[in-house]
Symmetry: C2
Subunit: 345 residues, 2 copies
């Protein structure tokens, strides 16, 4: 295709600032003959306050027409916890069947990490995106009384687990180390644990070259700080993936550089690319936000749309920028300009 | 009381070795006039293979008569995942209403940590122990088919949440910094999240001196590696507590020194004290296991039974041993002997 039709959702807080840089780098890296069209959508706290809407059926119809979605961040302290998360972010991931939530972690030389000894870190987490404890299944009885009972149901299906496990095996197969670690808590969550573990073993038979490994989620957090080099590809459920990828981001350069893709590999729906970080209202509008995570999300977007050369160019530019930035303090815009200049040259 | 009647469950793997050291230190620290009686129970993999039993009603009746329980570790690769965990460890925690799972983390000077810069770490996690996704609630339909659905239900009650939150506030109140952080994921798990958050705010009114704070579980893992000093007391649900305390152990001296208490503060049932680590079958029987976590669990046991002076003596001995041990390689027994000598003097 010689055009990209992109839905852009800047969102709340620093979302606006970082998305602007992501688009700047995208425009700079694309070949002349690729036409980039963008349509901006005003989702998030402002629209919620103005209209009470988070994401309507009409919104979904509009979004569905695009090739992909670039999202900044959604969330604001003025909105009760859960409203935008469940009503927008998760609603969109579920509506567009974003079952592969891809979150790479790579610690580059010279990049700050809280870990001693600058360990080698280069792995990717394939987080399931449409099941587990994220389905909104559950409820409350006798709310507000001393007899209240609140439940949350983790729903796991053979269909849902198998497709994400197979995707993770394929990704592991394509990497030099070819290693896949399943993370779960199958000694306690035995129903879901059996399904995940049995599916993992079944699909493993299709990928004889991939080395497999299993860790309980608690043990996985230990290895993420004591021996992150042991990981190549991790596949895990929605909630464990949420937790592990924040920790992974923290040890591999910080949340300011962690990118993610919410992918529907079947391409029935547009996939969505977003930084792992939130809207950071405390620093919004000050030009302090690091747009690197958004720019790396643009690289994932490019790869998803088949622009592998351009994706790699963006990643190389970010790597060079990160290793060379040292203690320099630059604005959001300056970092975006620097990255755009690197990818253009 | 001038006697302690202790149930001892060495368990599997390194459990035997580390419990022996815990008992050695306990005997050494107790005043002459306190009579220590111990009864050993043969739970774990050996008994499971021999009889198919993990923990019977008769076992629970016997255990119930003791003042407290000291546990080494339960678990062996020869037993399918989940059998001993659900059939013994969790069964016991639930049967004896161990709703306060207490897990302190303190990084001592000179003790190895994967974190750069040896940050100050001194906090305690109060993990709920009888609810959440640990209840065994859930199930599987169409097992083994492409239509399998497996669920796990997190059950949260006002009764269960309020008592553990109140316990955590009381512990925060008794500490110099008086700070309590609630960790949950209330933006996604909104049913349970509301109950936890509302209860937290309600109980906070009873403890005006305690500073409160809320973090999503994913963000909490970030702070545990970037700014662990921000934590004083953490209160959280069963599964989040499981994950956070392994990470906490990893950053504050390792799983070899992490102690825990499974406490019924009402004292209707005996409380159980155990190292956070597992049975480590790979190093079992070699005298390589570090008994420190078990010895620190003995300190928690002493404190629970009212022997505050003795508990503090054990903790001081461990602190001195840890800061002075350097790179010395000692056997399990040698570490136990050194600690026993320190507490006796
Ligand atoms: C904001 C929240 C709904 C979201 C999640 O839990 O998935 C975020 O933490 C993430 O990781 O993208
Ligand atoms: C062994 C397992 C059942 C247990 C748990 O998940 O609670 C362990 O990880 C722990 O933290 O004590």
């Amino acid at each position: 295709s010689h055009s990209i039709d992109l839905a852009v959702i800047p969102g709340d807080g620093i979302g606006q600032e970082v998305v602007a840089q992501g688009l700047k780098v995208l425009a700079a890296v694309l070949p002349q003959d690729v036409k980039l069209e963008t349509e901006e959508y005003d989702f998030g706290a402002r629209r919620y306050h103005a209209t009470g809407e988070t994401l309507t059926d009409a919104d979904l119809d509009s979004l569905k027409k695009h090739d992909a979605i670039l999202l900044g961040a959604i969330g604001d302290p003025s909105v009760p916890s859960g409203v935008l998360e469940r009503g927008f972010l998760l609603k969109l991931r579920f509506a567009f069947d974003h079952h592969v939530n891809l979150r790479p972690s790579k610690l580059l030389p010279g990049v700050a990490t809280p870990l001693a000894g600058q360990p080698a870190i280069d792995f990717v987490v394939v987080r399931e995106g449409t099941e587990g404890p994220y389905t909104g299944n559950g409820g409350t009885i006798r709310k507000g009384t001393v007899h209240e009972v609140a439940t949350e149901v983790s729903v796991n299906t053979a269909f849902g687990v198998e497709r994400v496990v197979r995707d993770a095996f394929a990704r592991a197969q394509a990497r030099p180390r070819k290693k896949l670690t399943l993370v779960h808590k199958n000694n306690v969550l035995t129903f879901a644990g059996h399904l995940w573990t049995d599916t993992f073993h079944k699909v493993a038979a299709e990928f004889p070259e991939v080395t497999t490994d299993y860790l309980h989620v608690d043990a996985a957090t230990i290895f993420l700080v004591t021996d992150p080099g042991r990981f190549d590809v991790i596949v895990t459920d929605n909630l464990f993936g949420d937790i592990l990828t924040d920790l992974a981001a923290a040890v591999s350069g910080g949340i300011g550089v962690a990118a993610s893709g919410n992918i529907d590999p079947s391409r029935e729906f547009p996939s969505m690319f977003e930084p792992v970080h939130g809207s950071a209202p405390d620093i919004a509008g000050q030009g302090k936000a690091d747009p690197t995570a958004t720019v790396l999300s643009v690289a994932l977007l490019l790869r998803h749309l088949g622009y592998e050369t351009e994706a790699a160019r963006v990643e190389t530019a970010v790597a060079a920028d990160l290793t060379e930035r040292g203690d320099s303090v630059r604005t959001t815009d300056e970092i975006g300009d620097a990255l755009a200049a690197r990818v253009a040259s």
